[in-house]
Amino acid sequence: MDFALEVAGLAKTFDRPAVNDLSFKVRAGEFYALLGPNGAGKTTSLRMVAGLLKQDMGTIKVFGKDTVTDPIAVKQMVAWVPDEPMIYDRLTPLEYLEFVAGLWGIPAKEAQKNANELLDWLRLAPHAHERCEGFSKGMRQKVALAGALVHDPKLIILDEPLTGLDAGSARLVKDVLLSRVEQGCSVIMTTHILEVAERMAERIGVIAGGKLIAEGTLEELRAAGGRGERSLEEIFLELVGDDTFNDAEAA
């Protein structure tokens, strides 16, 4: 079986262990949701996968390529979308996409075609020549998502991409992600909106205290603890315990 992402024995310590012996795999063409309470180590793990943090221990492989020994080849295949869209206020969406395509070395013609399609799809075409400085959170997140997709990544990593989005924008983002998965792209996403994970993800990983404590499809998670027809929210709360405790620990 082809794996888009293989994480093995990953560890990262700041003033306390943030990620501790974390291992999981995401299959090629799979939508994987990584859940966990605040401070569980989700963002730290994904930042290490995206190449924004160096792990203390463990290995990360993207389509078989190691992030430490072959970082450029890995980055060429990966797109990272953080919860706070990081775009340039003084560039227009089209200029932003031209810049991103330039960074990933996409030929201009192909990049322009991709950019126009994405802007149309994300309903940003009427704003293509407006500077991003006056954009709402939803529009900014859509521009960032367009930037992530303009270079046709094989693995998309999203950290809380739906935070602060209105219903319409959230729906659009979810549709775009599902369509990419249909085309063979792999997606790994963290979210606190459990209904989203329940409806979109093929498999779900639950992380707490920097470790993976449960993993599988919704049915597998239900079956593992003899949880019958319980919702993901109920399963999640049973797995991670009191959220407040984890918040205090994280603080």
């Binding site: 943090l53 797109a79 990081m86 775009i87 560039l91 330039g102 201009a108 322009q112």
Partner: protein, 514 residues
């Protein structure tokens, strides 16, 4: 026993503002790092001693026998007040504009059931105090030395500075409101920033140019004491000398100056504070407006990863109005040496002695600012870091963008120098390159992720970076001037010092995790 002021009263708001300002000051001085307070106190104590020693050396033999009634002294004191006032105007305009546009707690205040007029009255008063603080710190040592070694009445300089701080705030407020009404909320911000920069540097530069024209000398003080100025200036009984007499400690002129300036500020507060809320609400709307860039059709260009990064940096620098206004002052300081070059066409002495060091110094400072914006002020650092580009190439591209921008800016002046003295041009180019590369390297070593809007505070993020950037520029400027003047045998000492500064800065650089 002091009672706590009633919530919502003027005193209550004043206490709240004071608390915020004090914490802001402590944070600025300690760069937000706890436990640095003691170091800051020691640093300030040393700074006080050094500035007083410099002031004593500067005033030299003149202390002890100053005739405060002479036209020459009145002219010099008035000139100093005018120079200080231009700086205070610049600062007050910036602070007033910031009060209009920065949201911070204004959403809370405006949505609360308190009388907003009181908030704005307190904030305008706070601007007057803040505007006076910097000149008091800058000229405090001069006033103290004069008070100790000449006459204690010179201490009246402090209330005079406050009076002019109040006047600068009042005028800035009137200008900002006038522009708000005529230009609208969107254009006012940029316009006031540019005016603030021009006012801040303009007067000093104007005096320098006047000194060059009349005396072939760049010194402001020589100009104030020149025969030309003494001939033009009115008699000692004129009202124009009121602030100068007040500064020298004459009670009547002191009180009159204070009264007039504070009355003008009070009037402005009475007139404008009640409508301040309206302007703030109007200014809040500009965040929702969008600027459309022409042309409406963009064809993607084939660029390498490196050139994509360079062009992005240049595009952002060109579109950064905030940067333009902040850098304008530094660029304006290039005007006097350029003017001197034009005036002293062919005079090697003027080129080497004054023009080249100023040019090198300005280029170094400008490069430091641009490098901070390109390296630390990156708006989308995660995007750039996750791109399939080696870290070294990202850094190289950003450095190239900065040095390229400096090259474009200094090129016309270098051409001018080349016409006069080709060798001097080569020396200037080498000095500019060395100062710019040094400043950029220092910013690279001390890079820390920050918002572009924090540009004004970049100097407080690391004192080592700030001082080493300034010292290296000074050393390169000195070395350039000496080589151009033919004293090349002394210049290796300054070049060595410049490298020493860089080595010290490099050894103090923080460790990076990634």
């Amino acid at each position: 026993m002091l009672q706590n002021p009633t919530a919502g009263s003027l005193g209550w708001f004043a206490r709240h503002e004071f608390n915020l300002s004090w914490r802001d000051f402590v944070r600025m001085m300690s760069a937000g790092k706890p436990g640095r307070e003691k170091a800051v106190v020691v640093f300030m104590f040393l700074a006080v001693i050094i500035t007083h020693a410099i002031a004593y050396m500067f005033l030299g033999n003149s202390v002890g026998n100053i005739d405060t009634g002479s036209k020459s002294i009145l002219l010099t004191v008035s000139g100093c007040i005018a120079l200080t006032f231009s700086l205070m105007m610049s600062q007050a305009m910036e602070l007033v504009t910031r009060t209009f546009y920065s949201r911070s707690d204004l959403d809370l205040v405006l949505s609360s059931p308190v009388n907003e007029k009181r908030v704005f009255a307190v904030r305008i008063g706070a601007i007057a105090i803040a505007t006076s603080m910097l000149p008091m710190l800058l000229f405090g040592s001069v006033i103290n030395v004069l008070a100790i070694f000449d006459n204690a009445s010179w201490l009246a300089g402090y209330p005079i500075i406050f009076a002019f701080g109040a006047l600068a705030t009042a005028i800035s407020l009137a200008i900002a409101v006038l522009m708000f009404k005529t230009l609208g909320a969107k254009k006012t911000r940029l316009a006031t920033q540019i005016i603030a920069a021009v006012v801040g540097a303009g007067f000093i530069i104007g005096i320098q140019i006047a000194a060059i024209v009349s005396l072939d000398n760049i010194s402001r003080f020589s100009f104030f004491q020149s025969d030309l100025m003494l001939a033009i200036a009115p008699g000692v009984e004129s009202l124009i000398w009121l602030p100068a007499r007040g500064t020298a400690g004459e009670l009547g002129p002191l009180l009159q100056t204070l009264l007039i300036c504070c009355a003008i500020l009070g009037l402005m507060i009475l007139v404008f504070a009640p409508r301040f809320g309206e302007y703030v609400i109007e200014a809040a709307g500009i965040g929702q407006t969008r600027k459309i860039d022409q042309p409406k059709h963009l064809t993607f260009r084939e660029r390498s990863k490196r050139t994509s990064l360079i062009f992005k940096e240049w595009k952002l620098l060109l579109r950064d109005h905030w940067l333009i206004s902040q850098s304008l002052m530094q660029i304006l300081y290039l005007v006097p040496p350029a003017f001197m070059l034009w005036r002293g066409f062919g005079s090697a002495e003027t080129i080497s002695g004054v023009a080249l060091p100023i040019l090198v110094m300005a280029a170094g400072q400008l490069a430091g600012g641009l490098a901070w914006l390109a390296i630390s002020g990156e708006d989308a650092p995660q995007l750039v870091q996750t791109a399939p580009i080696p870290q070294g190439m990202i850094i190289r591209a950003k450095v190239e963008a900065v040095l390229g921008a400096i090259a474009i800016l200094v090129f016309p002046i270098l051409v001018l120098i080349a016409f006069m003295d080709f060798v001097a041009m080569l020396i200037a180019a080498a000095g500019i390159a060395a100062a710019s590369v040094s400043a950029t390297m220092i910013q690279l070593w001390f890079r820390s992720q920050a918002n572009r809007a924090s540009f004004r505070r970049r100097q407080t993020s690391s004192k080592v970076a700030t001082f080493s950037e300034a010292f290296s520029s000074i050393m390169w400027a000195g070395a350039t001037g000496l080589i151009a003047a033919g004293y090349w045998f002394i210049s290796p000492a300054l070049i060595f010092c410049a490298f020493l500064v860089l080595w010290i800065a490099r050894s103090f650089r923080p460790q990076k995790d990634f």
